[in-house]
Structures are given as C-alpha cells and as structure tokens.
Symmetry: C2
Subunit: 722 residues, 2 copies
C-alpha cells in the first residue's frame, strides 16, 4: 500500500517537473546574441558532462566487475548488488543531467524575462529550480519504490534481504555524486578563478565581459558544478538517508520486543518521503508575488513556500504515522524523532544564513576587515567559519540524543539508531522545495552573465543581481540541510555497519570454517568499540585526518586547473591583441577544454581515496578500525564541511556587500582584499566543502557493502602473523 503511495507521489513530482519544464521552455530566449551565448554554454556543459560520464563509466565498470566477482564467484553478497550499484549511479547522474539541461536553456530566458520585471525573472528561474528539485525527489522516490517492488513482488525476497541491496543502490548514487561534485567543483572553480585572476585583476575588465576567453567556461562551470553537481549530490543525500534508515529498520524490527515488523520499519521512511514530495509540490504554489514586488517581498514569498511545506509535512506525517498499520504505540516516538530532524534542519539553516548573510553582524564585521588588507580578511573569514560550527554541531548532537531516546533507544538501542535515521529523512523531507529555492540561484547568476555579455540594459543586470543575491541567501539554507542530514545519515550508516559486522560474523564467516570461523567468533556478539580500545583511538585519528587530506587534494586540484586556465587566458590575450580591443573573438572552446581536462584528471585521486581507504583499513586493521575511522572522519569532516561552506559564503557576501558601495565600493583597496577572500572561499564552498558530505556517506556505504569481503581478507592477514 505504501509503495503505491510512494509511486503516486514520485509520479506527481515528475509530472509536475515536466509541466514546469514545458512552461520554461516555452519562454522567449531573447536576442540572437543571447541565443548564441546560451547555445555555447549548453554545448560546453554537454561536452563536459559526456566527457565526465565516459571517465566515470570506466570506474563504474571496474567496480561492477569487483561486485560481480564477490556476488557470483564468492557468493559473499546478493546477486542483485552489482545492478543496484549501477542503477544508483545512473539515476544520480540523470537527475543532475536533467536539471542542468534545463538550466542551461533557462538562463537566457530568465534574463529576457527579467527585462519585464523582477517577479517575471524570479518565476522563470524558480520554475527551473523547481524542475530540478522535483526531478531529484521524484526520481529518487521512483527508483527506490521500483527496486523495492521488484525485489519484494517480482523476486519475492524476504523483507530483511532488501535493504542491503538498496544500500548498494545508495553507494552507486554516492559514487556518481562524488565524481559530479568533485569534477564539477574543480571545473567551475578553475574557470572562475582563472577568469577572475587574469580578467578582473590583471586586465581590469569587468566580470562576465565577453572579451574574457574564460567567460563561457565560467558560465559552463556554474551549470556543471552548481547545478549538475548539486543535483547528483542531493539525489545521493535523499536516497542515502532513506536506504540507511530502511536498513536499520530491519535490525530494529529483529530486536523489537513489541512485535514490530521489518516491513513496517522499512516502509516508514518511504512514506515520510512521499508525504514530503506532495507537500513540497503544494508549497511551490505559495511562491507568488505581484509583478512589482521588491526583493524582500520575493524572499518572503520563497520563505512562505518552505514554511508551508514544513508545517504541512509535520501535520500530515503525524496523521499518517499514527494510523500506520503495525506500529501501535511506537508511532509517537517515530514521529517525534522525525520532528527532531525537521526542526534541527531549520535551526541549522537559520544560523547558516546568520553567519553568511550581510544583513547580520558576522559578515558585516568580516567586510570591515578588508580595511586592513587581504591577510586580515583571510584570518577573519576562517574565524567566522570556525565559529559558525558551534550551533550546527550542538544542534545535530541534540537531535541525535533526542531522536535516539524519543524513538525508544533506552529500551532498544537499535530502534534508537533507527530514530536517528528517521531524523535524517525528516530533515530532507522538504527537499523538493528547499532544493528548488537553492537551484534557482545559479540560473539567476548565469542569466546575469548573459545579460552582461549580450549588452542588455543595466536595469536587467540589477534585477538579475538581486535574484542572484536572493539565491545566495536561500542557497545557504540548502547547504544547512545538506550538511546536517549528511551527519545524521552517516551516523545511521555507521550504526548499520556495526550491525553488518555482527551479521557477517554470525552468518557468513562461520560457514567458511577454519581460521574464518575462529576469527568470526570475536565479532559475533557485541564487540568493543570503546574509547580505550587502541584500535579505536588509532583509527579515530586516521579517520579525523581523512577529510583534511581530501580537502587538500581537491583544493590543490582547483589550484592546478586554475593555473592552467590562467596560462591559457594570458596566452590568448598576448597572441591576439584584437581580443582586448573587442575586434576579434577569443577562443572560448579552448578554455572549456582546459577546465574539462583538468577536472577529469584531478577528480580521480580524491574519489579513489573515499572508496579504497575503508577497504585498506578493513583488511589490515579490521572492522573495529573501520568503524572508528568512519567515526573520526565524520566528527572532523562534519565540522570542517560547515567551516568551509560558511567561511566561503561569508567571504562571498562580504565582497558583494562592498560592491554595493560600502567601504569604497568596487575597485577600491578593500574590494581587492575582499576579492582575495572570495577567491579562497570559492573552492571551500563549492568544491571541498560540499564534497566532504558525500565522502562521509560513501565511505560508510563502501564499508557496509564490502563488510564480508574485508573481514575474510582481514582474517587471512591476521593469520599471516600467527
């Protein structure tokens, strides 16, 4: 029954997305120049994505073979796993691709609509964002429902065998998302930094000036990074939170003393998600304003939509869960656990905005540091980012304790952990609409770029800037949800890994006999993952180091790719003085090519780090070491991700604050200092920071999927020293 609802919910979302997309596509794309630029961006973005998918396909093929080996030759995992992995990757990529395709077409349309009024511009951009939001949640829910229906109805698998396969689906989605985020992030920031450093700083031409050879690459970057990357990322977050909770649901049912069934526990996260989709659709209808609406009225309209959805989900899910068959009195605990997540998400979102918006003190004070030069801007921004971690961390810690105990963790620990998973699902239940308000930002940003390049009236640029700045505020909200839910989901996955260790030790390894059975005995009951176990502390350290290494790799990748871009832009300016004079056209495609190549080359190492570290630790240190390294990575990575995202946001908005005429405005010394901060913040907030969220979940999922295989190899390794 629930499956029917989720199918209906997902189809509603996809149909709604289709209708909106048709509306957007029917809009006018403006002048010939605008069409031409828009086409160049579309071509560049498609070229990049097809190149990226080619590289990723090879890696997926290799991992598919590895999984197939484990499934068919060694029978250590279910035969469905390799296919679940590949489909997860496919749909994650598809969600990004659909959103991006529309976004690249909608940018010129938004610019043209903004000629009419601010509200018209908002409508086109917001509808484009909504298509992305609905595609992500619609596809996510559809894929999960179909896999579930397939395994349960067509293959008649028992309920407790389904979630492990679904986790592999999530792992596929995460793998794709990591490549999309890292690759897209490197592309966009290399282009952005390259364009700014030579164009703005050296040549002294304004942003989005058509004479800048990297300008098209910069616009392509916004689409492949901030749209396609974000789409794949949030698809992964959404699917990940649901599959992690489903998996814990099986364990919670097994250990239940109240007779809760696995089927009940598995279906609740799907049901909550379905309710969220429907309420998100309804919420978008509240985003309306009169033609002559001001910026603050538009922001209020966006907020009204999100608030309607949030309250609606709270009420609807209460009624639904209360009458959910087989839950009995447990319904209240599960609903309150979900509410912990929903409330925590909004608290984090509010404080993310507080620390990154120039309407509040922290960013204003950061803008003041520009008066004493770039060094104080950097110190100030890092300090703001570090300080901004306090409230999100404490909020997540409180919602962990809250959802655990409300869900009944005091009586049944596994149900408490299930409650944490439900909190993550609750936090992401509004994703359909929060992602819509998030994804429209890059569209507005690009519209501004096209308006500038096509030489539209200054008023249009002012309007798209207003939309963009609105987008920065709502994007901060979106990031808050992404980071908070990542922490809860990763935690649920670590708990699930703990279950899987015991399961493998009880059911898989004993059958292999000999050293394997002997090895398994130590893990078949509760094992010591306490903080005085030397394996735990040693691997906690190693785990805590991984997010730093990952960030270093991604930041250096951006640096190298941006360096190549700087060289190319300088070369073009030098080779053809006609470019600066405006008499000849720069070679845009060469710059797109350089960013593409750089991103492809550089995204491999960080991604492999995420996939292979848990395997290496698992084989040479053992499952307790893996668990501790996951916890260490989660603890430091969560804080680092918030720090990077918020420092980046604060620098960006401090710069914008100055550009609006404060502290001397554009081209003043303070502005130059602010640009340094913004440039440092770019890879922070758009490459390393968001990719960390995916890293944490992917590492956990890899550990779960390969748990039996690594335990077998660990047993072999230990036996070498006997």
């Amino acid at each position: 029954m629930t499956i029917l609802y989720t199918l209906v919910g997902s189809v509603c979302a996809l149909v709604f997305a289709f209708l909106l997309a048709r509306y957007v596509l029917a809009q006018d794309s403006g002048t010939d120049t605008m069409r031409e630029i828009s086409l160049a961006v579309q071509k560049g973005a498609r070229a990049y994505l097809s190149q990226q998918y080619r590289v990723v396909a090879m890696i997926f093929a290799a991992l598919f073979l590895l999984l197939a080996l484990l499934a068919y030759a060694f029978r250590l995992i279910s035969p469905f796993v390799p296919f679940a992995f590949v489909t997860g990757g496919f749909f994650s990529g598809l969600a990004g691709y659909i959103g991006m395709t529309l976004a690249t077409k909608a940018n010129a349309k938004t610019a043209w609509a903004a000629r009419k009024s601010l509200n018209s511009g908002l409508r086109v951009a917001f509808f484009t964002g909504t298509v992305m939001g609905m595609t992500v949640v619609g596809l996510g829910l559809l894929d999960l429902s179909l896999w579930y229906a397939l395994l349960k109805l067509a293959f008649q698998l028992p309920d407790d065998q389904i979630p492990p396969i679904m986790i592999t689906f999530g792992m596929g989605a995460s793998t794709m998302a990591l490549f999309a985020r890292v690759g897209g992030g490197i592309f966009t920031k290399a282009a952005d930094v390259g364009a700014d450093l030579v164009g703005k700083v050296e040549a002294g031409i304004p942003e989005d000036d058509p004479r800048n050879p990297a300008v098209i690459a910069d616009n392509v970057g916004d689409n492949v990074g901030d749209v396609a990357g974000m789409g794949a990322d949030l698809y992964e977050s959404y699917v990940g939170s649901i599959v992690a909770t489903m998996a814990l649901g099986v364990a919670a049912a097994h250990s239940s003393t109240r007779g809760l069934q696995a089927i009940t526990m598995i279906q609740i996260p799907l049901a909550v998600a379905a309710i969220g989709v429907v309420l998100s659709i309804l919420g978008t209808f509240f985003v309306q304003a009169k033609e002559d609406a001001s910026q603050s009225v538009l922001l209020a309209a966006l907020r009204k939509g999100v608030w309607f959805s949030t309250v609606g989900i709270a009420v609807a899910s209460f009624l639904y869960i209360m009458f959910f068959p087989g839950l009995g009195r447990a319904y209240l605990g599960i609903w309150t656990a979900m509410m912990c997540g929903l409330v925590a998400g909004n608290v984090i979102a509010y404080f993310t905005e507080y620390y990154t918006s120039d309407t509040y003190k922290p960013t204003r004070q950061l803008a003041d540091t520009t008066l004493t030069g770039p060094a104080t801007v950097i110190i100030g921004g890092l300090a703001v980012g570090m300080k901004s971690t306090v409230i999100p961390v404490v909020t997540v810690a409180a919602s962990i304790l809250g959802s655990y105990f409300l869900a009944g963790g005091a009586y049944n620990p596994v149900r408490g952990l299930y409650g944490i998973g439900i909190a993550a699902v609750g936090m992401l239940s509004t994703l359909g609409i929060t992602l819509a308000t998030d994804a429209y930002g890059p569209v507005a940003d690009n519209a501004g770029g096209i308006a500038e390049m096509a030489g539209l009236e200054a008023e249009v640029r002012t309007r798209t800037d207003a939309l963009d700045s609105l987008g920065n505020t709502t994007a901060a909200t979106g990031k808050g949800f992404a980071i908070g839910s990542a922490a809860l989901t990763a935690l649920a996955l670590i708990a699930e890994y703990d279950q899987k260790i015991i399961e493998a030790a009880r059911e898989v390894l004993p059958k292999m006999g000999g050293i394997y059975a002997e090895y398994a005995r130590g893990f078949s009951g509760a094992f010591d993952s306490g903080l005085t176990n030397p394996y735990v502390v040693a691997c906690l350290f190693v785990g805590a180091m991984l997010p730093f290494l990952f960030s270093a790799l991604t930041m250096q990748a951006v640096g190298r790719a941006a360096g190549a871009m700087v060289q190319e832009v300088r070369r073009q300016f030098k080779a053809d003085p006609g470019i600066m004079a405006g008499t000849s056209k720069p070679d845009y495609a060469a710059c797109v090519g350089i960013s593409t190549k750089g991103a492809q080359r550089e995204m491999i190492a960080p991604a492999l780090l995420a996939i292979f570290t848990p395997l290496v630790i698992g084989i040479f240190v053992g499952p307790v070491g893996v668990m501790a390294s996951l916890a260490g990575a989660l603890a430091s990575g969560f804080v680092l991700a918030i720090m990077m995202a918020n420092a980046g946001g604060a620098w960006d908005n401090a710069k914008k604050y100055i550009e609006r005429g404060n502290h001397g405005g554009k081209k003043s010394e303070p502005h130059k200092a602010a640009v340094v901060g913004d440039t440092v913040g770019d890879p922070f907030k758009d490459t390393s920071g968001p990719a960390l969220n995916i890293l944490l979940k992917l590492m956990s999922m890899v550990s779960i999927v390969f748990v039996s295989a690594t335990m077998v190899l660990n047993a072999l390794f230990i036996n070498l020293f006997r």
Copy 2:
C-alpha cells in the same frame, strides 16, 4: 633510589643551566644603542609578564578556592590537591620567566658576537636556548621528584594515592601554560601584524626599522610569546607526559597478573626522564663547529647533538630498565614502547621539516603560487598544511598500536595504555636538547632586529638571518615533538579518566548513598563508550568542534589586538611627521601597552573554554559524554594543530625563499603575496596551533581532577528528570 637519581639529574641540569647563563651574561652587549634597545625590550617584556601574572594569579586564586572547597568541605579530593595545582602553575611560569629573562639580555650579546663570526653568534644564541631547555627539564624533574618524595617519605602516602595529586600539579602547569601561550601568542602576533601592516605595507619601511613605533613591541612579543610562552608550554608537556604515565602506572600495577608493583610503574617514567636529561646535557657538547663554519656545517653540528642524545637515551634506558628492580621480563615491553615514542618523534620531526623547509618541494611549490597572487598562496598553504597531517597522524596511530601491544596490552589492557604513556615520555626524553635548538631561534631573530635598529654592518644582519633561518628549521623539529607528544599524552589522560570514572563509582559515590550510590552502579564496571552509544557520538561531534571554536576565538583575538595596534601606529605617524623623517623618536611604550592590554583581555575567554567545557558536559551529559568529547577534541584538534603549525611554517619559509631573491625578491608582487600568506600563518603557527596542544591536555586533566564532583552533580541533574 630512582628518586635520588632524578634529583641528581635535575640538579645537574639546573647547575649546567646556571653555568651557561653566567657565560652568556659575561658576553659584551655591544654599543650604547644596542644596550638601550635591549633594555627597552627587557623592560617591555617584564612589564608584560608581571601584568600577565597578575591576571593569572586571580584566576589561580579562584580555582584554588574551588579545589579547596572540594578538598576540605566535601572531601571529594585529596587535601594536597589545591597546593599541587598552585605549585604546578608557579613552576610552569617560572620556567618561562627564567628563559625569557636571559633571552632578552642575550639578544644584543648575540648580535655583537655575530660581528665576529657565524659560529660565535650561534654559540651565544644556542647557549641561551640551552639554558631554557635545561631549566624546563631540570625544574620539571625537580618539582616532580620533590612532590613525590614529600608525599611518599614525609607524609607516607601509599603509592597509589600519589599520582592523582601529581596530575593536579600537571593541571596547574597546563593552566599557566595555556595563559602564557594564548596571551603571549596574542601579544606577539598583534605586534607583529600591526608593525608589518603599517610599517612594511603602508609606510614602505623595512622590517625592524627603528622609525616603526611597534618595533619594540614586536621584539618584546618574540620574547613573551616564542620564549616565555614556549617555555611554559614545554614545561607543561614534559610534566604532563610524566604524571599521566605515573597515574596509569598505578592502574596497570593494580590489574597486573605478573605481580608488578605500583612503585615500579610510577618510577619508570621519572627514570626515563632523568636519563634523558643527562644525555641531553652530554649532547650539547657535540654542538661545536670551527670559527669559519658555514650554515650547513652548523646545522649538522646541531643535528649531531640531537642524534647523540637520542641514541644515548635508547641505549642507556635499555640498560637501566633491564636492571630495574621488580620489572622482571616486562622490561622489554616497556623499553620497546618507549622506543615507539622516540622513533615516532623523530619521524614526525623529519616530515615537519620536509613540509615547511624551502629546501624541499612543498614549500618551493608554495612559493610558486605567489606568481598568481595572494589568493592562490592562501589556498596553496592551506592545502600544504592539510596534506602534511597525513604522516604525523599515521605515525602517531602506528605508535599507539605499537606501544600498546608491545607493553602487553593484549593480555592486560591497562598496561597497554601505560605503554602509550611511556611512548610519550620517550618522545619527550630528548626535550633538554631539542628545546635548546628550538629556543635559540627567537634569540637569533631578536639579535637580527637589534642589529638592524642599531645600524650594525649589513654582514651582521646576514649572519643573524642565517642563524634565524637555521632556527626555523630546528623549530619545526621542536614543534613536531610537541604535537606528537601532546596526542599521546592526551590519550593517556583519557585512559586515566576512564579509570577514574570507575574508581569514583566504586569508592566515592557509594559512600554518599541514595541516588548517588544508585547512579554509581552503572559506572562501577566497564561501561559502554562504544561508537554506537548516542552519548558517545553526540559528544564526539561536540568535542571535534571545540578546537575549531578555540582557534576562532584566538584568531579573532589576534585580529582585534592587531587592529588596535594598526590604529596606534597610524596615529603616531600622523601626529608626528618627524617619526618618518627620523628626527623624533616614536612612542614605543604606547605600542607595548596596547599589545599588553589586548593580550590580557583576549586570553580569558579561550582559557575558560578549556576549563569549563568538560565540567559542563560532565554535569549535564555525564562522564561518558566527557570521555567522548575529549576523544573528539583530541582527534580533530591534533589534526588541526599540525595543519596550522605546518601551513604557518611553510608560508613563513616561502616568504623567506622569495626574499632571498627568487621570483623577483623583496618588494616584488610575488613577495607581497607571500607576505599575505606569512601574516595569515602567524597566528596559525604561533598562537592557535601550539595552544591547541595545551588545550587538549588541560581539558583531560580538568576532567580527571573534577571527576567525582561532576559525577555527583550529574547524578543530581539526572535525578531532576525522574
């Protein structure tokens, strides 16, 4: 018997320090101008320290009263504890004070000696550093031996009651060290940044130019931060590693099945430290070179001294521990555990140098990033810092596992934890000589400043610069030891806290009856600190956030104090144009006063954070939460401290590399970009980074000392919800 040896060892160190100090003081201070400048620095430094001690004395008085209340009114801790706390603080401050007093007198003498030859300059500076090194280890060992002798012989306390009192001694030392590091760090960086931003960047006058009003404050800062702060810091590290190991020794003896006695286990760390002191003294005699020695010959001489001490300690401690009464066959395990620390310290030191010295690739590549402006320098430096965490973290993780299992942790977990403590003691056993090579750097740096201000020949400045650059290399080594040993010591302290929870639950709370006895039952055996306990994960997050918050507070403090300094320097330049013309003298004292006031005001909040956070978590969440937050803070703080120290070192040396004529040399655009990096790195490497090491240990010690009190209050708090 061991106590006699340690007393002899400590007296040797102090006598040696006294003789060297007499030699240094007998040197010529040079011209009248030099004497005058040196006197101004002495006066400023003394003024600062006496102001700092006044503020700290009040905080110590408050904590003394709190401890006295717990000891005498509630009888929750030993009556010796309040006095141990105060003496620890006193001697930590004294170690810094002695070192600093000599350093402020030796700077002019070093400059004058450098007129003769590089080697003569090195001798005076190195002897001054050696006085510091020997004072720290001599005083540390003396105080520990005296307290031990007093409690054991005069008060006849049983062996297992002594270490808890000694831990409070360590807590006193850490509290003082935190104030010294944070206060001194804020002072020195505010003065440095203030002097550079207005002097070098705005007014375009060279570093150490006497026309700069902040120049004396800058020199005072080197002494109160890099000398007095470092002295207190390393006194704390040294004492902390020994008392933590002594405390675990009692628990290890209690749980021993081989009949090991507490007295044996307590005395071993003292014995290893005493051997280290003697070998460090001998090692300094190897630091000799011919009069016309080049820089690389001098570096080799410094290294020879350290290597002699290291090998000597390895051999001597093997012989000593082998024949140690009552150890039996356990000697080999304990010696190899110690060697894990000694080797790990050297590995970390080597790679710290690799990442921060401009003779290797990372810093060279960082220098290359200056070609594309300050933003890429910042991104590059952060990436180098983050990448440089890999090897130290893996090394420490390996030495945790190594020392744990070599010391017999597989059979007796507590002895394994004791092994980790012994590894920390082993790592710091060479402190006498490594600190000497570390502390001479600031002396050489100051000598250069005085040479510049007094207008000595350019050749002298070249020589002091060479000495300073040598000092940067050896300082990197010193930092490696400080960070590595902090991780091991903090871990040993967390393990000791775990023991103390059980002890309090078995021995203290049951006697109080009622809700307290009931509460205690849950902790009287092994309790669940596993990674699926929600309290553990929630507090792991909160703990991991603390180092970020602490760094934010200290960096913002530097920013604010530097801002005040910038205003003052600008004001002086504006009020009296004669200053720039060189006809009238700037008001140096005003700048010293501003840095002093700023440091005093700003050091309070971060220090209180360290002291009160574990208490608050202990009362409202409970002891498991405290343990998890300590582990979380250790995991993220350890990585963050390495990152900050190494990024700062790399930026500093990249700037120096350019100043030697690369990429256009001084005053070129790349140099300006490098200065931005160096300025950001200053608070990283000299304020926030090193203070993190102290923070981690202080938090653990506070938790241990207040364990019974927080458990009583936690029981009360929980009872509120019944």
